[in-house]
Symmetry: C2
Subunit: 968 residues, 2 copies
């Protein structure tokens, strides 16, 4: 142990490469040791594979690749399965060691004033002041923070395939590694116990069937989301807000006002019914109740702790009156005995008997506690009945609005300050008040998301039934005119006795549920596939008809390029409706879609189209004096260069954020952003400082000639992209054969079905499988296709200098280029070529492959010229990233090879080519291997052989996917 | 950061004196800063007092003492109150810094191989092997541990005066100080937030009324006890048992068998009805249910975590059958829907839907979970009804015996081992199995304690009613003969239609409750004030008559010297009853009383009488082939020299422990032994290793001439003790005036009334107030009185060398001497003299005072000669202890002076001597001071003046008491 403290000091100086290696070897050696204890032969084979793979990764010479492929080629199908599982696990362990390394790295920065890297709020403050972005006293910072509001919306991401129990094990492994680092003084027994625990979790993870056989229900996803709040975010947010105050005080500013929280949380889990038939009205109701219940439990525990803390007897005038009144009331209602009995029954753990008058703070807290308990009981009952939640809560002594619980707490806070106990007031009590302002009584605000088409169908059935004609055939103007007149009229429109189609009925019962929910549990109503103003108005009308007391803000989501360019006009049309303008009273949100847009125009064109839409929309909004907030739905897989979130926000056009940011956090991003309290702290820290900067240090406005050049770039890249993807007849074939796209469908990933309406073209492909397929072959075509060609043309027109200038001066352009560069850094065309060689037949698509790889190289070199880097990711500050990626290659390559081998087998027995005999007689030796294969028995009739091949493919897909994601 | 890490290395070399000072100044400066923010004048006065007190403590010269007294003398009564509260708080903070220092000290030892101090198990192993106490492979150690069973019985201690909320704050302060030490790398923001939290807790503690105005109910004490199990012991025990295995493996031994736990826990809270009328049958019932409920919650959480851990699909034959059977049953009972709904209703946080067949471990765990939930519901219902708990639990699907829950868990453990996942089996699952073996389903086993007299009354009313004559007038033999005949007869004795006196009825309903409780929630039945065999038999009979299925072991507690010397005969008489002998089938416990015995014979005589009783009782037991276990009720206040628990166990006569130790942990010892996980770990560690040593390295058997000399010593000291306390006519007067004994009664300390039947003599005084009174004046007379005289006579007979030899060779003698020495180290006769000067009138008791102090000095010098120390506690290893004590003196002295001043006032207005006018017109300036004084309004008619004086006295008593206790 001796030397471990010694090398800690110089650990922080020469970067962390060696350090990463140490954890990794520890994990790998434990893994092998564990593997050997179960199956020595297999362990040796795994080591051979790893050694061969490592050799190739460092030398890149084809012979060693063939050796590796040959070795893997003549493993038995069941060894394929096990080797795939082994490397998937080892890769997972590798990622964990990366997680630990980066959170250690970040820890080191927080203490040692090393000058590089990400900026937390306190440095942001200092920087903003130093660069004169704010006055020296930091008043500008304070003012900005007082108006700043970031809403993080958690959504279930379709590929969130890691089962919760594996996530729990990862968290345990992460924690043990961290302890091994931080606990400098532990004796040999503690260390060996920690290593045992490590061994245990690695073993448990490996022995768990890593494929989740059942589709998770939205409620399950919701639980998963909730557990982050219960375990880290609830406390993390309070800790961060407290830190924000400390940082403000360090620059001589007062703490933020008590009732202002710069963060709040939303969710789509159980609210997003776009293309997800499992999200029914009943499901939405469940998740709201569950979240409210969880919030109730969290506040209940805090109040119980506060009851111990606030044991003082001094109080101010107001609190004294409150207590005297309570004593007066109590004396002639229920007697003390009954109350003590009542509490006993509720088995409160402390303070059965009513507290005495000279514990004034507890008198108030015990009332809050009782009411929280009643709220919980009421919510339980709601879960088991299905009448209106709001009415039921109103009929019990339950909390409904935040004011009801804040008012007594603020009274306590004031009383403590009045009696000179401000230190006590600003401890746990302040945290609680802040938590209520951050999380509200619903913990998270659920957004409802549905596609515009569905509302049109609903209106259509209504107008038909009422004999007003059929809504869907009306012109847009007639729709608007009709909707406005109905919104203004006091007369009901919804006919009672109509019978609706199944879908419309479900749609209407969602609006009914919205009307029956406490407002504080709901966020916005998001319309996906929004195209016109009537989409927004119809949702407002349907809410009105369902008796929604205060209507949810309706957020249109413009996803298709067509809708994007039309968005400003749509907004203009909306705002020019007098009714709408003063209904939204100066605030409107809208959402611009990412994930789908990259599919029909390529990355560059998509990114710029969005950039422009934001600028134009903000202009339109400013015309009408409307402050527009953009709701960013971030795709899970686009990367961030070292701390790219920061840049992603910075790349937003100036004036499109001004302190209001609403952003989704998807699937495994949730895991990474809130895995433990430190990471949670950092996540909140980054969002806050990035947003603050964007307000005080707005990014520069691009020059006109840059915009023209950008215009040109996206036109050329878009044409090239479409010309390859949609016009080239060979492409479809290439896509179907050189990637595992067709096999993705059969994996059950996430609760959302993969195909929209089913026809075979690319148009019908949802964005996720499209990007996912190319990631598997490490070719990532959707990211770079067309960019090279566009840059090439500009360089030919002698615009290289302007391109370089744009890269240096314009954050948007820089970020877009960096993002592509980063993806390229993870790609390896050699692997893609290998897929081609094994899975396609050359006459058909051979040439296309060669062309595509040439385009890849062209894009790579031009990109480097524009960015002015020698090699991919080779700049002064991101060398570690480059290494990290190469450190994974030896794990990923065998998975690619295994995937190719088994894809071939899968397709052969699909076409029924009569492979060699070993297909039929595949009888796995070990008896429990058979059991494993039967686990995947969608249909028992299929032979074990195909089950084995299929599971191997599924596992390799997961492994490669987790290998290709990267962390900050 | 710089300097704090630098001095950490050399911190461990030169002892910790300076280090302690650092925490202390930090706490004190924050305290002053806080005080100044509330009341500057008062803060300055407090500093003057502290400075004057410090000056005297270092110089000991009378002028400075008078200056201090004069300064305190002319403070106003309300300043008395505040200064008393200030020093009580500062002393408390000082103690906390000591706690932190010692747990840091212990931490350092665990890592750095420094050679001194306490021995934890792993060193004990090494030492035992090295000294040949066990074979080199450690088989003897393993065998001893397999038979070793330590039961820690927590009891509510009468002086446990610190309110729970203050304890919570102390725990928070302790944690912050620890964090400040351990968290070497934290940035300035984190530090300032920690210091804020520190400031907040110190402030909250100071502003809380530190006198608890209401007598805590036994259920409240029970809750307090429970919270230690929920917060530290439950996990701590599992951690320690795991460590024990690691230690065993390090010496090449296997881990302990799964179903053997070396520790279990008992409790008296809510069971000890000796002289506590609040402990009724109903109360006992409540605490049992509460403890069971708490156990249920703890296991429920563990099972839920296990459900995530055990996600593997491989299992052995047996588990597979169990699951197939369950699947078969399920298919034609309730459908899946209903079950999911049912669980939703129970709002399980995860796994609503029944788990699928290929998660076999979860299938078992979800059944366990459901049943735990049912057990919890059943217990809730029991709390609100009052029918038999056992019957009700039997009538529901509730767990009653440990086997029911262990059997499925062991099946899982075996299955994991069979499938090669032993690493997983031995992780959380093993911990849980161990926890169930340690804590059982009741968490702690409640002992019932009642005094023998009460059972005699019960028998008396029964025999009178049945016309068998009156039991209490029978001879002992007739009682035994009668009781035996009834125990053997199948005919009921208890008449149904009799009416009993209030007390006897309560006694009988306790036995009824015992019969209605699950056995695993009960421990033994302890008879206090036991004198004869019939006491034991009558309790056995009363249990039989109440239909107790399996009778509780009856443990006689011999407390009076008379009973002690008679104990062996009593045991002999018991064992010679054939029925009794085979009822106990070879195992019997008995308890020898400490606290009372010191009161009528002095410390030395008492200690030796107990020593002899243990030896004689063990002999008698061995005659009958009965293995006797002694139940040690340790008084809270006798100290442990550095790690004296260790010595206390070692000083037990050889062969009286042999692996079975049952020991009480009282009031604030609970706080110190289980405050946090480290301390909990150490506590269990010490008990285990001390007991292990006692078995393998038995203390030497004393030579006959030592015993004779010891006999002589106790006879002389006893005579001297009685001659002073009971025969000297001046003593009573001295005691009533020179100590605050009479005022103690009025404080409400603990739930037990202070006086037995009320007459004024010393005999009627309970041991606690007697010892407590002398501790207040720092004279501690009961500890040393008579020892000096005894030693003096032996020295005169030229036995000094033998005394020294005994000190070196005989652990019992050494411990007894050390204990007295340690108490002397804390005493200060100058303070006692000061009490005398101010509170007594010289003609009456002046001379006695002088004599007593002379005896004190004589005892001190002789003790040092025997022990061969230059000064008190001046040996190589306990210098720090000496300093620690002197570091507190400056806090305690002002409290003593304030106490004397106010005692005088209290007694004057009692006798109605017409003090000066300022009594009547005492009108405190600040308005909320008046409120504070009204808090103590036992009767509103008393003037504010007496209320102020009284509270001051109460606070000084608490302060001095907490100042005089010491930690390890």
């Amino acid at each position: 142990m001796g030397d471990s403290t010694v090398d800690f000091m110089e650990i922080s100086r020469l970067g962390s490469k060696k350090f990463l290696r140490k954890d990794e070897t520890l994990l790998r050696s434990i893994f092998y040791q564990m593997l050997r204890s179960h199956n020595v032969k297999l362990a040796n084979k795994a080591e051979v594979v790893f050694a061969l793979s490592q050799a190739w990764c460092s030398s890149k010479d084809p012979e060693e690749f063939d050796e590796l492929e040959k070795y893997l080629g003549n493993l038995t199908p069941e060894e394929h399965l096990m080797v795939a599982s082994i490397f998937s696990n080892m890769l997972n362990l590798h990622n964990l060691s990366e997680d630990v390394q980066s959170s250690q790295q970040e820890l080191a920065e927080r203490i040692g004033e090393v000058s590089r890297g990400t900026r937390s709020t306190d440095e942001t403050f200092a920087r903003l002041i130093k660069e004169g972005k704010s006055d020296p006293e930091g008043n500008a910072i304070y003012k900005a923070l007082c108006e700043q509001k970031i809403t993080l919306v958690i959504t279930a991401h379709p590929t969130q395939a890691l089962r919760r129990s594996l996530l729990k094990k990862n968290a345990a492994i992460r924690k043990i590694l961290t302890d091994l680092h931080n606990n400098v003084k532990m004796n040999k027994f503690e260390k060996s116990e920690l290593l045992d625990a490590l061994h245990c979790n690695i073993n448990a993870a490996f022995r768990t069937d890593e494929l989740s056989r059942k589709k998770p229900l939205p409620q399950d996803e919701m639980r998963h989301g909730l557990s982050y709040f219960q375990e880290t975010i609830f406390k993390g947010a309070a800790k961060y807000l407290r830190r924000l105050d400390t940082a403000l005080q360090s620059i001589g500013q007062p703490p933020l006002p008590l009732d202002h929280s710069v963060i709040s949380f939303g969710s789509w889990m159980g609210g997003d019914r776009d293309g997800n038939p499992f999200v029914t009205a009943e499901c939405t109701r469940d998740v709201v109740i569950l979240a409210r219940n969880a919030a109730c439990d969290l506040y209940f525990q805090e109040v119980e702790k506060l009851m111990f803390d606030l044991s003082m007897w001094r109080c101010n005038e107001k609190l004294a009156e409150y207590c005297d009144k309570k004593v007066a009331d109590a004396s002639h209602t229920l007697n003390e005995e009954h109350l003590a009995f009542e509490r006993k029954r509720r088995n409160y753990c402390d303070f059965w008997r009513p507290v005495s008058r000279h514990q004034p703070y507890r008198m108030v807290l015990e009332d809050i506690r009782d009411r929280l308990h009643d709220t919980r009981d009421a919510l339980h009952t709601c879960l088991n009945t299905n009448d209106s939640v709001l009415d039921y809560l109103k009929s019990r002594n339950a909390y409904i609005t935040e004011e009801e619980i804040l008012e007594p707490l603020l009274m306590l806070h004031k009383s403590l300050c009045d009696t000179g106990d401000t230190a006590v007031a600003n401890n746990r009590l302040k945290d609680l008040i802040r938590q209520i302002n951050t999380f509200g009584l619903g913990l998270i605000r659920l957004d409802i998301r549905q596609e515009a088409e569905r509302h049109a169908d609903t209106m259509n059935e209504i107008t038909n039934f009422l004999g007003l004609g059929s809504y869907k055939e009306w012109s847009e103007d007639k729709k608007i005119e009709f909707l406005l007149s109905e919104l203004e009229s006091k007369r009901p429109l919804l006919p009672r006795t109509a019978t609706y189609s199944e879908e419309v009925r479900e749609c209407l019962s969602t609006f009914k549920i919205i009307a029956e929910m406490p407002r504080s549990s709901l966020g916005n109503y998001v319309i996906s596939m929004a195209t016109s103003a009537s989409d927004v108005l119809s949702v407002l009308l349907l809410q009105k008809e369902a008796n929604v007391e205060s209507l949810l803000h309706v957020v249109p989501l413009f996803e298709r390029l067509g809708d994007l360019s039309e968005a400003p006009n749509t907004l203009r049309k909306l705002c020019s409706c007098k009714w709408f303008l003063n209904h939204i009273d100066g605030r409107q949100e809208c959402m611009l879609g990412y994930s789908d847009s990259g599919k029909d125009a390529g990355r560059l064109a998509a990114a710029y189209a969005l950039y422009r839409a934001q600028v134009d929309l903000t202009e339109v909004a400013n015309e009408f004096g409307v402050s527009l907030t953009f709701f960013h739905g971030r795709g899970g897989t686009v990367g961030r260069g070292g701390g790219p979130l920061h840049l992603a926000i910075r790349s937003q056009p100036a004036g499109t954020i001004n302190g209001k940011l609403r952003i989704t956090v998807q699937g495994e991003i949730i895991e990474q952003s809130f895995a433990d309290e430190n990471v949670c702290f950092r996540t909140l820290d980054l969002y806050t400082s990035a947003t603050l900067e964007h307000s005080l240090d707005a990014p520069p406005v691009p020059k006109q000639e840059w915009k023209d050049l950008m215009e040109e770039l996206s036109r050329v890249s878009c044409d090239k992209f479409r010309q390859v993807v949609y016009k080239d007849p060979r492409f479809i074939r290439y896509f179907k054969t050189a990637t595992p796209e067709t096999e993705i469908g059969r994996m059950n990933i996430g609760s959302r079905p993969t195909k929209r309406k089913a026809n075979a073209g690319i148009e019908s492909l949802r964005a996720i499988p499209w990007v996912f397929a190319w990631t598997q072959t490490r070719f990532g075509l959707p990211v770079w296709l067309g960019i090279g060609t566009a840059l090439q043309e500009m360089v030919k027109e002698g615009k290289l200098d302007m391109l370089r200038e744009m890269y240096k001066e314009w954050p948007f352009f820089q970020v877009t280029i960096d993002l592509v560069e980063m993806v390229l850094a993870k790609l390896d065309p050699a692997i893609a070529e290998y897929y081609e060689k094994r899975l396609t037949n050359p006459e058909e698509v051979g040439a296309l492959g060669k062309e595509l790889r040439a385009m890849f190289e062209e894009t790579k070199s031009l990109l480097l010229q524009v960015a002015g880097h020698e090699g991919l990711l080779v700049t002064s500050k991101t060398s570690t990233l480059q290494e990290k990626i190469s450190l994974r290659a030896p794990y990923i390559t065998p998975l690619n090879i295994l995937q190719v081998i088994n894809l071939k087998n899968m397709r052969d027995c699909h076409e029924g080519v009569e492979g060699t005999h070993e297909k039929k007689s595949f009888q796995p030796k070990s008896e429990d291997m058979i059991r494993l294969l039967q686990l995947n028995s969608t249909s028992t009739s299929r032979s074990l052989y195909t089950a084995a091949v299929e599971d191997t493919v599924t596992i390799t897909m997961k492994g490669i996917a987790s290998g290709m994601q990267n962390t900050g």
